[in-house]
Structure formats: structure tokens, C-alpha cells
């Protein structure tokens, strides 16, 4: 396999820093010319207070054109400086975050200029809601792929989780049982993935695709066969109610976004922290990564390669299954055919975009969740951008990421290769 990895195409090496600087400048130009000069007359108004909130935050009213032009000019300057000045890692990331935030602000200003006020808090709330299955799915991907098993079956895991969550919660009347079963259902599909990938050495990309088709067919079949005739008994679960964290939930703006949501959001926080710490700060994680990078070496020092892979794949399935359950009992309640609608693939994209790290994947998932939320919210205020383009954004961003324009996104070295003990 080493021989094959050596074959990559003769790549034109672009200085990574310059490439990123170029993208910054481009974003700045878009800020200035598109969002600035072409903004409709009138202010962009953002509201920050939900109805019934205790503390009221005044609305923010920004003159859309000048704000976007200002942000654009600053971004261009930052980009030019970035090309010339060598920065260490942390300031580099800060600049990146600042540029992206600036882009988002000027985009929102442009979208809302001269229209009805933009409810910022509910936009962010729906971002978080959209991001939950993406983050959990991407974590499932990280857990599997860091141990060396490609997981394209995230979509199927979400779908089965959503199905089991809705059906069990509905028939037993217990949401917690639903959440638990959703997780188990994701885990069961993961067992199939693990057995066929590890024991029977089926190509893992094929396997993932086939398992997704299987999950879609199975849930679609059971939906028509059982859920439609017995809608009331089998497919009418309650949904989790939001839980407000005592003190933090009362903070204006941040509180309702981060600390006033269903249990799924808090599970997601915990999962991100656990997977990050687990993978990168513990001996357990070191072993997992060793198995994913160089299984032979790991085996030599006594790490059980196959066991590690089985465990991680199933663990990933359990996590993704919770994400699936959030699609039904965390938001809409009842299950519908193909309710995951490609979110498993966005989760895969988020994992790749986040370079196979839990934190990176979470950031990407939030960004993708934001673009989904924008597509929903901006449609209602009549923004001048077709929602289809916003929905395309995660996929385009991922293509750009894997094409290596912003530094290559690299998979663990042994990802997807079965381990045969010699």
C-alpha cells in the first residue's frame, strides 16, 4: 500500500500561506463589491430578543452598504498582511476566524438590508439544531476513521437512529428509551459495517454506500408497511422539551442559543469534549490513532488492532445513532421516509473539512449548520440569494478543501485498509 500512496499526481506546490492569503483577499473583495456596493438601500436590522425573554437587548441597526464595504476593506488589508507576515499557529487561526466572521456579518447585512428585521437568536438556534446531527455524525466518522475504518455509512446510521428513536419512543411512550434505542440502532448498523469491513474485508467505500441504501430501503419499507397504517401507535412520539441551564441560560443572546435547548445539544457538547480528549489526550486515543496510522507497528507493541477497530466503529455508530434520534424525537417528532436527507454525507464532509479531528469537524458542522439555517430563515425574509446556493455551500466548501487549495485535508494513513496479521 505504501507504494500506491506514493503515487499521487505530480502536484503543483502552492505556498499554503499565500494561497490562504489569496482566499482572504477574495473574500474581502466579495464583501466589498458584492455585499457592499450591491446592498439594497436601507439598514439591516438584527433583533436579539426572543419573545418572552426576561432581559431585552436593543435591536442592532446597521447601514448595510458601508458596513460591508468597511469589513471588505479590512479583510483585504488583513489578507495582504497575512501573505507577508509569518505568524505562529494561534494568531493564524484567529485571523482566519475573524475573516470568516466578517464575511458572515457582511453577508447577513447584505441579505437583510431594507427588509424585515433578522431574528439573530432564532437563526443561531436553528443553526445549533441543524448542527447536532452533523456534529454527532462527524464524530462517528472521526472515531471510525481514526482507527482505520472508513465510515460512509453515517447517513444510514442517522436514518436508523431516527427511525428507532421515533418508533420506540412512540410505542413505549418513553423519550429516553427512544434516545437509547436510536443509539443502539446506529450501533447495529455499525456492527454490520465492522464485521463486513474487518472480518470479510469488503471495500469500505462500497460497504458504506451499500449500507446506506440498505438502511434507506429498510426504513422506507417498514415505514410504508407498519408506520403508515399504525401512525398513532408507532409514529407519534413526543419530543424532548428544551432544558434551560439555570444561570447560563439567562445570559442575553448567548443563553438562548447555547444553554436553552433539548438534551441533544448537551449530549453533543459532552460528546465533542469526550471524543476530543479521548482521541488526543489519553493513552486510549494514542492507541486508536496508532491503529489508524500504522496498524503493523501498533500490533507489534501489543495493541489489539482488530479489537480496537471493532470497538471504535461500534462506538461511532452509537454516537451517530443519537444524532439520528435528534432528527425525530429532538425536533419534528414523527419519522418520514429518508428523513436524514443527505445529512450523513454533510457530516462526512464536515469530518473531512475538519481534517479528521473532532474540534475541526465540529467547527465545520457548525458552519454547515449555519448555511442550512440561513437557507431556511433567509427565505422567509426574502433575501436576494436563492436558498439552493446556501444549501450547496457545505459541498462546495468540501470540494475546495479536498482539492487542497487551503492546505490538504489528509486522512489517517491506514484509513480504509484492512489489517491482515502476517
Amino acid at each position: 500500500m505504501t507504494a500506491i500512496t506514493a503515487v499521487g499526481p505530480k502536484r503543483v506546490t502552492i505556498d499554503r500561506q499565500r494561497a490562504i492569503a489569496g482566499i482572504f483577499v477574495m473574500l474581502g473583495v466579495v464583501d466589498f463589491f458584492v455585499f457592499g456596493l450591491f446592498a439594497s438601500n436601507g439598514d439591516a436590522v438584527f433583533t436579539f430578543t426572543l419573545t418572552g425573554a426576561a432581559v431585552s437587548v436593543p435591536n442592532l441597526s446597521l447601514p448595510a452598504g458601508p458596513v460591508s464595504e468597511g469589513i471588505g476593506a479590512l479583510t483585504v488589508i488583513l489578507g495582504l498582511l497575512y501573505a507577508g507576515v509569518r505568524l505562529s499557529k494561534i494568531p493564524q487561526r484567529l485571523v482566519g476566524v475573524a475573516v470568516v466572521l466578517g464575511f458572515v456579518v457582511s453577508f447577513l447585512c447584505w441579505s437583510d438590508a431594507g427588509r424585515i428585521p433578522l431574528p439573530f437568536v432564532s437563526l443561531m438556534q436553528s443553526t445549533m439544531l441543524a448542527a447536532i446531527p452533523l456534529v454527532l455524525g462527524a464524530l462517528s466518522g472521526c472515531l471510525c476513521e481514526r482507527s482505520g475504518v472508513i465510515n460512509i455509512a453515517i447517513e444510514g446510521q442517522l436514518l436508523l437512529g431516527a427511525f428507532a428513536g421515533a418508533v420506540i419512543a412512540s410505542s413505549f411512550g418513553s423519550l429516553w428509551l427512544g434516545l437509547f434505542s436510536g443509539s443502539i440502532a446506529g450501533g447495529l448498523l455499525a456492527i454490520l459495517l465492522a464485521v463486513f469491513a474487518i472480518r470479510y474485508m469488503v471495500d469500505q467505500i462500497i460497504l458504506g454506500v451499500v449500507l446506506n441504501v440498505f438502511a434507506s430501503g429498510l426504513t422506507g419499507y417498514l415505514y410504508d408497511q407498519a408506520l403508515v397504517p399504525y401512525q398513532n401507535r408507532l409514529n407519534s412520539p413526543n419530543t424532548f422539551v428544551p432544558i434551560k441551564v439555570p444561570v447560563l441560560g439567562d445570559i442575553p443572546i448567548i443563553g438562548p442559543i447555547l444553554f436553552d435547548s433539548t438534551i441533544f445539544l448537551y449530549i453533543t457538547y459532552a460528546a465533542v469534549a469526550l471524543v476530543h480528549i479521548g482521541l488526543f489526550k489519553t493513552r486510549w486515543g494514542l492507541r486508536v490513532r496508532a491503529v489508524g496510522e500504522h496498524p503493523t507497528a501498533a500490533d507489534t507493541v501489543g495493541i489489539k488492532v482488530l479489537f480496537t477497530r471493532y470497538r471504535n466503529v461500534v462506538l461511532g455508530g452509537l454516537v451517530a445513532g443519537i444524532g439520528g434520534a435528534s432528527l425525530t424525537i429532538g425536533s419534528v417528532g414523527s419519522f418520514g421516509k429518508d428523513i436524514s436527507s443527505g445529512q450523513g454525507y454533510i457530516a462526512l464532509a464536515a469530518m473531512i473539512f475538519g481534517r479528521w479531528t473532532p474540534l475541526g469537524a465540529t467547527g465545520a458542522a457548525l458552519l454547515f449548520g449555519f448555511s442550512v439555517a440561513c437557507a431556511n430563515v433567509l427565505g422567509t425574509i426574502g433575501a436576494p440569494i436563492p436558498s439552493d446556493f446556501l444549501l450547496m455551500l457545505p459541498y462546495v466548501a468540501t470540494i475546495i478543501a479536498v482539492a487542497g487549495f487551503v492546505g490538504r485535508s489528509r486522512a489517517p494513513k491506514a484509513d480504509g485498509q484492512p489489517y491482515i496479521k502476517s
Binding site: I150, V209, V213, G217, Y221, Y223, D224, D415
Partner: protein, 446 residues
């Protein structure tokens, strides 16, 4: 896809070593010759038996299909309300539960057969003054369903042979359908020319999408699996967006649907207007021949297989893997685009946001089942087409949801891709000299 030297089409296993000889010995009439011939006959029988016991790839494929059909039958039986009711009386009437389960599954599969191959009622009706064409309706439906699967399946199979994994048939299909459809309804041309131009438009549309993937892989090393998956969704939203524009949208309709393609641009029916089978099926078969010819008889095909087997060796031999990747993806995209054209010009006639259906994903399973050889793809596509056509009749007759066909199709491929699994459950001996039918796994990085 790391392929062995023989390629995934490897028919290594299917020919038993002792080839049957014409019985020239027996004709001479001497006892000695007759004994020899008998021996030869036994040898043939033994080697055939060995092929079965060892699980040659043909046997494994057959068993995979049987296993998937059995599991599908169990799923049908154990989710049917009547059967579940019978189970609740298991102890009072133990026989009834099992016979009910058998009846439900059997009636489902016989309805599926009637919808896919032939329905006896239409045959007897034809003798009593019914329509003869009606007899062939199930076969016509099978062919119609198989047409885009053959074309898109070829798009995936050809990429396999070049060592690439084309999950992007969906996106390429949309690209083809979009352009073919647009030429079909927006341009006005004389009879035959119109349909030819529209079909070519479909090929071009698919090629653009496929070529982009190949180009990106060649230029930057971007893994085609990731790019194609992402591009599928980009294309799905693109068609949704276009159908919102005045250029593409039929005026006066509430849904995002394009105007119907002009009659001049539709693929002609092959067997009268009552049967849906159309020239697209012939195009698909011709494409399969063309791909077989390309693979086995041309320089491009040789380079393609070499690059697929080992890009390093190909480069050392003076070939350019990069150029091959681009060429292959252009051709594959064209084939998938042709599939899109065959649907829009042959059966659907108007662009809808769901025009791509599940063809792109089914194409992967078809290509795998067909072991990435053109002939295999045609057979696999016909099998899948018959399952699709049959499941529609099944749902009409027995109210069992069509999705069961998807489940069976997924299981078939899952088992075909895992020959050791099939050997284990049927206690077949492992083949000497490793697995030939199995597609070895590889990672993102290669």
C-alpha cells in the same frame, strides 16, 4: 479499488480445469474408448462439483442472490399484519403461522415475477381476444427500468477498471438530463436530428461533470470519492435552482417542472405505443458493446486497465495516469449523462427535481454485481430492472411496499462483495490461491 491483474471481471474461477470434450471416443464404439469417455465425463462432473463446492465467483453470485431473496422473503413474512396476527395464535394453531408466512412471501414474489417477466393471465387473455402486446408488458417494463441502470452502471464499472470509484453517477446523470431536457423542450429541430442532438447534449452534460472530477483528481489529487459525493448534492441543488428559473420552468404549473420535451426529441418506441420499451434500451446495449470494445481492443482501454492495476507501473511504462483519469471520467460522465438523456427522452419527458431517482446509487451496486465487466453490468442491470418493475406490480397486488426491492438489491451487493461470508454460511471450501472475486479494500489516500 485495487484490482488484481485479472481485473474484477476475473472469470478465473468459472471455468473448471477439465474441459468437456466431444464424445469422439464413444462414437468409435470400442469398450476401451467408452471407458475413457466415461472417465472424462466423471472428471468433468468432479471438476464442476469442485467449482460449486469451492464457490467459484458465479456460484457465489448465485448464492448471494438466493440469500438476499430469502432474507427479503423473511422480512416480508414477518412484517405482514396477517402473519403477525397468526403468530399471536401460535400455540392454538401452530401450523397456521408458518403457512401464512409462506403464503405472504410466496404471493409477493409471484406478483413480482408477474410484473417483471410474464403474467399468465395476460397470456390466457391473449387467446381469448386480448392484446398480445400485453404479454410482453412486464418484459418491456424490465427493459425500461434496466436502460438507465445499464448506462449508469457502465459509468461506474469503467471507472472501477481504471482504479477509480465513481460515486458521482447521480451528478453526471443530472448534468446529462438537464442539457438533454433543455435541448428537448427549448430547441426546435427536425425529426431525427432533434433526438440525436438531445442525446449528444446529454453525453456532453454528463462529461462536463465527470471531467471536472477527473481533472481535479489529476491536477490536485483530490480524492474522487469525496468530490463525486459532494458534486452529487451540488447538482441536486443546481437542478432545483434551475427549475425555479423561467428558462427551465413550465409556465403556469405550481410545481417546479420543466415543459415536456418535443415529440421530435423523444426516443422512438420499439414495440408499439402501448409498451414503454424504447430505443434507449438499444442505445444502452450498444454502449455496453462499445465499452467492451474500448476496454479490450483499444490503446485507451489498455492504458486504462494498466493504470487501474498499478498507476506506478503505468507511469514507469510511459503512460500518464493523470491523462487517463481525465479521459476515463469524461467517458464515464458521458455514459451517466446518456442515462439521464435516456430517462428524460425515453420515459419521463419533463425535468423534475427528483429526475435522478436512485439511478446513480443503484449504478454502483449494478457495477459491483456485474463485477465491473460490460456484459456483467448488462445482466446485473436486467436483474435490478426486473426487481424494480416487479416490485411495482407487487405493491399493486399485495400492498407490500416497493422498497423491499431496494433492500434485496442492497443485500445482494453486500453478499457479492463478501465472498468469504457466503462461503462460510454455505460451508463451501475456500478457493485455493486466494480470493479472485473479492474487491480488495483501499483507503482515501491511494
Amino acid at each position: 479499488m485495487t484490482q488484481q491483474d485479472t481485473g474484477p471481471g476475473g472469470t478465473v474461477a468459472s471455468d473448471p480445469p477439465g474441459t468437456p470434450e466431444p464424445a469422439e471416443g464413444a462414437s468409435s464404439g470400442t469398450a476401451e474408448d467408452a471407458r475413457k469417455a466415461g472417465l472424462k465425463g466423471t472428471e468433468v462432473a468432479i471438476s464442476l462439483l469442485n467449482a460449486v463446492l469451492e464457490g467459484s465467483s458465479a456460484v457465489v453470485t448465485f448464492l448471494a442472490i438466493v440469500t438476499a431473496v430469502i432474507i427479503g422473503g423473511l422480512l416480508i413474512a414477518f412484517t405482514s399484519p396477517t402473519v403477525l396476527h397468526a403468530w399471536s395464535h401460535l400455540f392454538s394453531a401452530p401450523g397456521s403461522a408458518f403457512s401464512q408466512a409462506w403464503d405472504v412471501a410466496a404471493s409477493a414474489y409471484s406478483a413480482m415475477f408477474e410484473g417483471a417477466i410474464v403474467n399468465p393471465h395476460t397470456v390466457s387473455a391473449a387467446f381469448h381476444g386480448g392484446s398480445i402486446a400485453q404479454i410482453f408488458n412486464p418484459l418491456s417494463e424490465t427493459a425500461v427500468n434496466a436502460t438507465p441502470l445499464i448506462l449508469a452502471g457502465l459509468a461506474v464499472a469503467l471507472a472501477f477498471r481504471a482504479g477509480m470509484f465513481n460515486i458521482g453517477a447521480t451528478g453526471q446523470f443530472i448534468g446529462g438530463a438537464m442539457i438533454a431536457g433543455w435541448i428537448g423542450f427549448a430547441v426546435h429541430l427536425p425529426m431525427i436530428i432533434h433526438v440525436v442532438v438531445a442525446v449528444i447534449g446529454g453525453v456532453v452534460g454528463g462529461s462536463i461533470v465527470g471531467g471536472f472530477v477527473g481533472g481535479l483528481k489529476a491536477r490536485t489529487g483530490a480524492h474522487e470519492v469525496i468530490v463525486t459525493i459532494m458534486l452529487n448534492y451540488v447538482m441536486e441543488y443546481l437542478i432545483l435552482f434551475l427549475l425555479g428559473l423561467a428558462v427551465f420552468r413550465a409556465p403556469g404549473l405550481p410545481n417546479p417542472v420543466s415543459p415536456p420535451v418535443a415529440t421530435n426529441a423523444t426516443l422512438p418506441h420499439l414495440a408499439g405505443a402501448t409498451l414503454r420499451i424504447n430505443a434507449g434500451f438499444l442505445v444502452a446495449l450498444a454502449a455496453a458493446f462499445a465499452v467492451a470494445w474500448l476496454l479490450n481492443r483499444t490503446t485507451i482501454g489498455f492504458e486504462l486497465r494498466t493504470v487501474g492495476a498499478n498507476p506506478n507501473a503505468a507511469r514507469a511504462a510511459g503512460m500518464s495516469p493523470e491523462r487517463t483519469w481525465v479521459t476515463v471520467m469524461l467517458i464515464c460522465g458521458g455514459l451517466a449523462g446518456l442515462a439521464g438523456a435516456s430517462v428524460i427522452l425515453g420515459t419521463d419527458f419533463a425535468l423534475t427535481p427528483q429526475i435522478y431517482g436512485t439511478y446513480g446509487i443503484d449504478a454502483i451496486t449494478v457495477a459491483l454485481l456485474g463485477r465491473a465487466s460490460p456484459g456483467g453490468v448488462v445482466l446485473a442491470a436486467l436483474l435490478y430492472g426486473s426487481l424494480d418493475a416487479g416490485s411495482v406490480t407487487m405493491q399493486a397486488q399485495t400492498q407490500i411496499p416497493v422498497d423491499i426491492a431496494t433492500v434485496i438489491q442492497a443485500l445482494i451487493v453486500l453478499f457479492v462483495a463478501a465472498p468469504p461470508f457466503i462461503r462460510e454460511i454455505y460451508h463451501l471450501r475456500g478457493r485455493r490461491g486466494g480470493e479472485s472475486g473479492q474487491l480488495l479494500a483501499k483507503g482515501w489516500s491511494s
